[in-house]
């Protein structure tokens, strides 16, 4: 009993519509005709990604990945691959397209993803320190404490080219060396887990799936800079991540991997959690430190930088969760290994929380330099419902909207900055033709206005002004003077705001004005919202030629503004209409027009 080989046929909607059903039947038939029914199972899968190259067929256990397979190819796959064991090379996915240098691992490989940060996520039980240890956990700490001097650790991190994954991309090795250069005495290591961008959950998932990797990295960083105390600043809305971190800290203490004289060395280090109340501004490092000190979470001017004068006035390094999760791998595999992955200026990988109008939303990790097209179409499986891609937003409310012409741009810190966005912490929201650009800009401004701490005028007043202009535009009351003012205010905010929140808050406005001016123009000139999102600009009417008088719309209308006799064309009283759109949804005859 038991099959020897398995043919997996992608059953995702894209592949299904691409003759996937016929292919599945053809493979089953070929297996039967060749008498392999007891040896080979043909299985339909969920979406395997790579939808543009569908239908996809995968053979297990060999892990062969065939693309663009036609029903006619079924016989060849069965006769050549299954019976004779010869790979059908013309159907293989072109391996040379992989961004990963195959030489790094010497593995044939079609996946677009490369997991350094997420190496243990979804593999180990996060509540069991032994499983982390079995997967080389705390081996990097071992190496640092017993084989390396603090300066060697910093050198290795510098060599790797790792840059801060919280968004700004400051070189991690440099940050550590600034703190290390300060005179010996009390220093602190802080992990920024105050993830707050709408739609971003990279850090939460990392902490929930692999808490020890962050604890190990903090301990290594403490050793490198001469700190004996670390804090994880995490938002209270992440109860599971907090629980798993608490378990992990207790286990590490029990094993002597935290506390006095770690592993019998003369290095001591401990970690405590500090819970944030969920203010977005506390992700900014000076505000975060203020919050840990028990003060109101507000930023302060830099310099002095925290590496010189941070927590309670002492030298402090603040690293983001994802940055830290890279550290153990960098020490074990070497900075050089890490520096081979990615682009000239941005090394390693980036984790993205891929959400929005995408088929396969998910937590992904790709080498720097991967294009948006690869992320959205190969990994993400394309736009939901086969609609047209309109824009992608990286960096959450601090980022910009990226239009379709940049789908093939390799993304790294520099390339994103050049097109008016930022890498950010890793939220990646995909928008389609049903999303209205001014409306999205309004959504983000609404968020940053809400989250602005109010300390500096450019952010407090500028953000509110921008929001008011956007509101007017979405209501059809906008003017070109508003646009000019928005540009001027945006500029002032990015130059004069005290912290990153205000400096970047206008990015959604600036980028959308740059790439989607036509949509703003439509809202201003034609009072039209092509996506049908801006309620005030919509008008519902009934096409009397199509209406059969079924009364479905009249029954569903919450304000009773639709009238008409049974089996007679109905009409909408637009003075009473609240534009809820229910009549549009309910009409089976497409008789309700929305314009």
């Amino acid at each position: 009993m038991g099959y020897k080989q398995y043919i997996l046929v992608c059953g995702g909607t894209a592949c299904e519509s691409n003759k996937g059903v016929a292919l599945f039947a053809a493979l089953k038939k070929a297996v039967e005709e060749n008498g392999l029914v007891n040896d080979v199972q043909v299985v339909r899968t969920g979406c395997l990604g790579f939808c543009e190259k569908g239908p996809i067929v995968k053979i297990l256990p060999q892990d062969t990945f065939y693309v663009e397979v036609k029903p006619e190819d079924a016989v060849v796959i069965v006769k050549e691959h299954l019976i004779k064991g010869r790979v059908v090379s013309r159907l293989l996915y072109d391996k040379n397209q992989s961004k990963i240098n195959v030489g790094i691992e010497g593995i044939d490989f079609y996946q677009k993803q490369f997991r350094i940060v997420l190496r243990n996520c979804g593999v180990i039980d996060p509540d069991k320190i032994d499983e982390y240890i079995a997967r080389d956990g705390y081996k990097a700490l071992e190496k640092a404490l017993f084989e390396m001097k603090p300066q060697n650790v910093i050198d290795e991190v510098s060599k790797s080219g790792l840059r801060g994954r919280g968004g700004a991309g400051f070189p991690t090795g440099k940050k550590w060396s600034f703190a290390a250069m300060q005179p010996a005495g009390q220093k602190y290591m802080v992990c920024n887990a105050d993830e707050g961008d709408p739609g971003a959950y990279m850090d939460r998932s990392t902490l929930e799936g692999d808490p020890h990797s962050v604890l190990e990295a903090m301990t290594i960083a403490g050793y490198a800079i001469g700190a004996n105390m670390g804090y994880v600043y995490i938002r209270a809305e992440y109860p599971l991540a907090i629980q798993r971190l608490e378990t992990a800290i207790a286990q590490a203490r029990e094993y002597g991997l935290l506390g006095q004289n770690i592993l019998g060395s003369d290095f001591s280090f401990d970690i405590e959690l500090r819970l944030g109340a969920g203010a977005f501004v506390c992700g900014e490092e000076t505000a975060l430190l203020a919050s840990i000190e028990g003060k109101r979470g507000m930023p302060s001017p830099r310099p002095p930088f925290p590496a010189v004068k941070g927590l309670w006035g002492r030298p402090t390094v603040i690293n983001n969760v994802e940055t830290l999760a890279n550290i153990p791998v960098i020490l074990l595999k070497g900075g050089l290994w890490f520096s081979k992955i990615g682009t000239a200026t941005s090394k390693g990988t980036k984790v993205f929380a891929l959400t929005g109008k995408i088929n396969n939303s998910g937590l992904i990790e790709v080498p720097m330099g991967t294009t948006l097209r690869e992320i959205i179409f190969d990994i993400g499986g394309g736009i939901r419902g086969g609609k047209a891609f309109k824009a992608a937003q990286t960096g959450g409310p601090s980022g910009g909207m990226i239009p379709p012409q940049f789908l093939d741009l390799p993304i790294d810190y520099e390339s994103l900055a050049k097109i008016g966005s930022i890498m950010g912490s890793g939220g990646l929201i995909v928008m389609d033709e049903d999303d209205c650009i001014p409306d999205i800009a309004k959504f983000y401004l609404d968020f940053t206005v809400d989250e602005s701490c109010g300390k500096c005028a450019p952010c407090r007043i500028g953000g509110r002004k921008l929001l008011n202009y956007l509101d007017a535009i979405c209501k059809g009351d906008g003017t070109y003077e508003d646009i000019d003012n928005m540009k001027e205010i945006s500029e002032a905010m990015s130059r004069a705001s005290l912290c990153g929140l205000g400096q970047t808050a206008s990015n959604p406005v600036q980028s959308s004005l740059r790439y989607f001016m036509d949509e703003y123009k439509e809202h201003i000139d034609d009072k039209k919202c092509r996506a049908g999102k801006c309620k005030n600009l919509l008008r519902y009417s009934i096409d009397t030629a199509k209406c059969v008088g079924c009364t479905a719309c009249a029954r569903v209308c919450p304000v009773n503004c639709i009238s008409g006799e049974r089996k007679q064309p109905h009409t909408i009283d637009s003075t009473k209409c609240i534009k809820c759109g229910q009549c549009f949804e309910v009409c089976k005859f497409h008789a309700v027009n929305r314009a």
Partner: protein, 129 residues
């Protein structure tokens, strides 16, 4: 467990590595691993987890270890479950409701057949092993 010395840690790692490689903790030769991040739990992973354990008990199967792990990254298909059975490919299933969880026990574990329409691709190769 007392505080580890360097030698203790290395010994522990060797032991655990062996048991993980053999995939044979406590004399069980198969594993069902349920993704239990916030995302998975929100999508019903706890119900799936319980259903799998109940079904294993009901069928009197004792050679399967049921474990939890963090997010596998396949948010579009939560809850996700990985199944490791000797002489069969390692498979990740998506959209595993309690019902599909029971099916995993009946079809995959008992009948050694993969289940239609639920297989997801492994997102990336493993850089540790």
């Amino acid at each position: 467990m007392a505080k580890l010395t360097l030698a203790d840690l290395r010994k522990l790692r060797d032991e655990k590595q062996k048991s993980m490689d053999k995939r044979d903790p406590s004399n069980k030769d198969a594993q069902i691993i349920v993704g239990m991040g916030t995302c998975g739990i929100a999508a019903g992973a706890k119900e799936t987890f319980n259903a799998i354990i109940e079904e294993l008990d009901a069928k009197g199967i004792s050679h399967v270890l049921v474990r939890q792990t963090g997010c596998m990254g396949l948010c579009h298909s939560e809850p996700t479950v990985e199944v490791i059975v000797p002489q069969m490919p390692v498979v990740i299933y998506g959209n595993v409701t309690a019902e599909t969880g029971r099916k995993i026990v009946d079809d995959h574990i008992i009948n050694k057949k993969l289940i239609d329409n639920h297989i997801c691709d492994k997102p990336a190769m493993d850089i540790v092993r």
